[in-house]
C-alpha cells in the first residue's frame, strides 16, 4: 500500500486501528528518501536508525494500548531546530559540525506525543534566503521541476513534503520562509501569531520576527501538528501565556457571512496576469461559499520591504555575533591572535548572503545611523501594525497572492539580492505585525504551482485554518502532487 499517499489524519487513523505499523510507515518514507532525495537534496541529515527505533517504540505502545496522541507519525524537522545528539547545522558551514546538546521545545513537544523524526531538512543559511540556494550543503530542488528553486528559507521542508518524502515538516518564518516555499511547491504552510510557538532551541535569526510553524499537504494536516507544537513555554520569555489552542475543531464550520479583505495597495501593483487570474478564481470560490469580499486599505504596507531589511539584518547582526569560533562551531586554521580568530572564522564560516546581512545590520545600528535607519524603521513598523489593527475591525481575514509569481529557475536571482528580496513583498507585513499567515495552493502556471495568502488577526489561527480548509474542501489544488 502506498501509505505516503494518505493524509496525516488518515495515517494516524490507520496506526490507531492497526491497519499498518509505524515501522512500515516510517520505512516507506525512509525508502523514498534514499530513492529520490539524491536529486532534490531536501535533507541535510537523515536519522534513519533513530527513526526506526522511535517507530518501534510507538508500535510497542500501540500493542499495549498506551499510545500517545500522535504516536508513530513521521515528521521532518527544519535543521534550525536543535535536536539533542543530532547534527544541527542551520544550513551553515559555521555549524557544520554542531551536535546540539539539548532539544528545542518544538522537537520535544512532538517527540513526547510520539512523532518519529525522519531527519533534518535543508534550508537557506541561517534562514536567510528565498530560494534555498544559500545553504552550505548545496541548493535544494523543486520537485515540480528540478531546474527550479523550491523557495526559501524552508526549502528543504517544502521540497520533501511536496515529493512525499515526509508527510509534514516543521519550518520557520521570519519574512515569508514558510509561506513562500509552500506557495512555490504547491503546499499548505502556516506561520502562527508571534509567540504561539516556542523559539527555545530554534536558532535565532531576527528574534522579533522569527516564528515556527509547519508545511503540510493540507490545512487539516497543518492544524493537527501546529496545535501540538503550540502553547506557553517558560523557557522562552516571548512565548505567549496561553494554553495549546484548539485548531482542529473549527475546521468544518462554514465561512458563510464572514468577510475577506482585499488590500487595494497589493492589487494596484503590477501583477502577472496568471497570478491575478488565480486569485480572482479563488475569490469566486469564497463568494460561492457565502463569504463577503471587502476592499480595504493598508496605507503603509509598501514600506514593509525597507522596514524589514533594516530590522531583520539589525537583529541578525546582534544574534550572529555569538559565532566567534570559541565555544562551538567552525574555527579558522592557525589563528595568529584572538582578533584574527574572530575575523577569519566569521569570514570563512559564513556565506555571502549572511555576511551581507550582518554588514547591513551593523551599519544600520552604528553610531550616526541608528536614528535615521533603525529607529525610523521601528516607527514605520508601528504604522504597518496600526493599518492591520484598523483593517481587522471590519474583516475576518486578508487575502492576497503569497508570491509575485510561480517558482523561478535556479541561479536566476542569485546575483541580485534586492530582486531576491522582492519575493517576500506579500509575506513580510504579517511578520512585522506579528500576525498569523498561511499559504494554500490556488493555481498553476506552466506546470508550476502558485499559492494565495491569508493573514488573520492576532491569535486567530483557527479562523485562518477554517478558511483554508473550506477552500480545500471545495477545490483540489492541494491534491495535486508533482510526478517525481
Amino acid at each position: 500500500m502506498d501509505l505516503h499517499k494518505l493524509s496525516l489524519s488518515k495515517q494516524l487513523e490507520g496506526l490507531q486501528k492497526g491497519d499498518f505499523t509505524s515501522t512500515e510507515l516510517t520505512s516507506q518514507y525512509l525508502n523514498r528518501i534514499s530513492e529520490l532525495d539524491g536529486q532534490l537534496n531536501s535533507f541535510i541529515t537523515v536519522t534513519e536508525d533513530q527513526a526506526l527505533s522511535q517507530a518501534k517504540a510507538a508500535d510497542d505502545r500501540y500493542k499495549k494500548n498506551n499510545n500517545f496522541s500522535l504516536d508513530g507519525l513521521p515528521i521532518a524537522h527544519k535543521d534550525i531546530f536543535c535536536t539533542k545528539g543530532v547534527l544541527t547545522t542551520c544550513g551553515s558551514k559555521m555549524l557544520s559540525n554542531f551536535e546540539a546538546p539539548y532539544s528545542s521545545t518544538v522537537y520535544d513537544k512532538l517527540d513526547k506525543k510520539g512523532m518519529v523524526m525522519l531527519g533534518k531538512t535543508n534550508m537557506d543559511e541561517f534562514a536567510m534566503g528565498s530560494s534555498n540556494e544559500t545553504s552550505y550543503f548545496g541548493p535544494v530542488k523543486n520537485p515540480w521541476n528540478i531546474e527550479y528553486v523550491p523557495g526559501g528559507s524552508s526549502g528543504g521542508s517544502a521540497s520533501c513534503v511536496s515529493a512525499e518524502l515526509a508527510p509534514i515538516a516543521t519550518a520557520t518564518d521570519t519574512g515569508g520562509s514558510i509561506r513562500q516555499p509552500a506557495s512555490l511547491c504547491g503546499l499548505t504552510g502556516i506561520k502562527p501569531t508571534y509567540g504561539r510557538v516556542s523559539r527555545y532551541g530554534m536558532i535565532a535569526f531576527a528574534s522579533s520576527l522569527d516564528q515556527g510553524g509547519v508545511i503540510a499537504k493540507s490545512a487539516e494536516d497543518a492544524a493537527l501538528i501546529l496545535e501540538a507544537m503550540s502553547g506557553h513555554d517558560p523557557k522562552d520569555s516571548t512565548s505567549l501565556k496561553l494554553d495549546q489552542p484548539d485548531l482542529t475543531n473549527n475546521l468544518n464550520n462554514p465561512i458563510k457571512g464572514m468577510k475577506i479583505g482585499l488590500p487595494k495597495e497589493f492589487f494596484e501593483k503590477e501583477m502577472a496576469p496568471y497570478v491575478l487570474k488565480s486569485i480572482e478564481e479563488a475569490i469566486e470560490v469564497y463568494k460561492s461559499l457565502g463569504a463577503e469580499i471587502v476592499e480595504i486599505s493598508l496605507g503603509n504596507i509598501n514600506l514593509s520591504l525597507p522596514i524589514y531589511y533594516i530590522i531583520a539584518p539589525a537583529e541578525c547582526s546582534a544574534n550572529l555575533s555569538r559565532y566567534d569560533g570559541v565555544r562551538y562551531g567552525y574555527r579558522c586554521e592557525d589563528p595568529k591572535d584572538i582578533e584574527d580568530l574572530f575575523m577569519r572564522t566569521r569570514e570563512e564560516g559564513f556565506g555571502a548572503e549572511v555576511k551581507r546581512r550582518i554588514l547591513i545590520g551593523t551599519y544600520a545600528l552604528s553610531a550616526g545611523y541608528y536614528d535615521a535607519f533603525y529607529l525610523k524603521a521601528q516607527k514605520c513598523r508601528q504604522l504597518v501594525a496600526n493599518d492591520f489593527i484598523e483593517a481587522f475591525k471590519s474583516v475576518d481575514v486578508i487575502l492576497s497572492p503569497t508570491t509575485p509569481g510561480t517558482s523561478f529557475k535556479s541561479g536566476e536571482k542569485t546575483n541580485d539580492p534586492v530582486e531576491m528580496y522582492l519575493q517576500d513583498i506579500f509575506t513580510i507585513p504579517a511578520n512585522l505585525a506579528g500576525l498569523p499567515g498561511l499559504s494554500i495552493p490556488c493555481g498553476e502556471h506552466n506546470g508550476l504551482p502558485l499559492g494565495m495568502q491569508l493573514v488573520g488577526n492576532s491569535l486567530e489561527e483557527s479562523k485562518l485554518l477554517q478558511f483554508a480548509h473550506s477552500f480545500q474542501s471545495n477545490t483540489d489544488w492541494h491534491m495535486k502532487m508533482p510526478n517525481i
Binding site: 503603509n300 547591513i360 514605520c380
Partner: protein, 98 residues
Amino acid sequence: MALSDQELKEIAYLARISVKEESLPSLKKELEDILDLFKQLDEANTTEVNAMSHPLDLSQPTRKDEVTEEDLRDELLKNAPSVKSGLFLVPKVIDGEN
C-alpha cells in the same frame, strides 16, 4: 546611497568579518543597492509614532531566582574547537610573560 571603501572596512571591522580587498567593489555595490531601498522610509511621517521594538506588548517576565538549567558542561565542551582542562582555548589575549 554611496559607501566609501573606508566606511565599508569600518563596518566590516565592527562586525568582525574580514573582507578581502578584491571583493570590496562588488560587496559595496550590493550593499549600496540595499541601502537605496531604505530611502523609501523618508516619505513616511513618523513624528507622532512610537518605535515598535516587538510585536508583543509584553513586559519582561520574571521568575524565582532558582537554578533550573541542567549542568551540561561536558556536553557543551564537546562542541568546542579547542579545549583544555575544561576550559575553552583561544590564542593568547594579553601580552607579557607566559
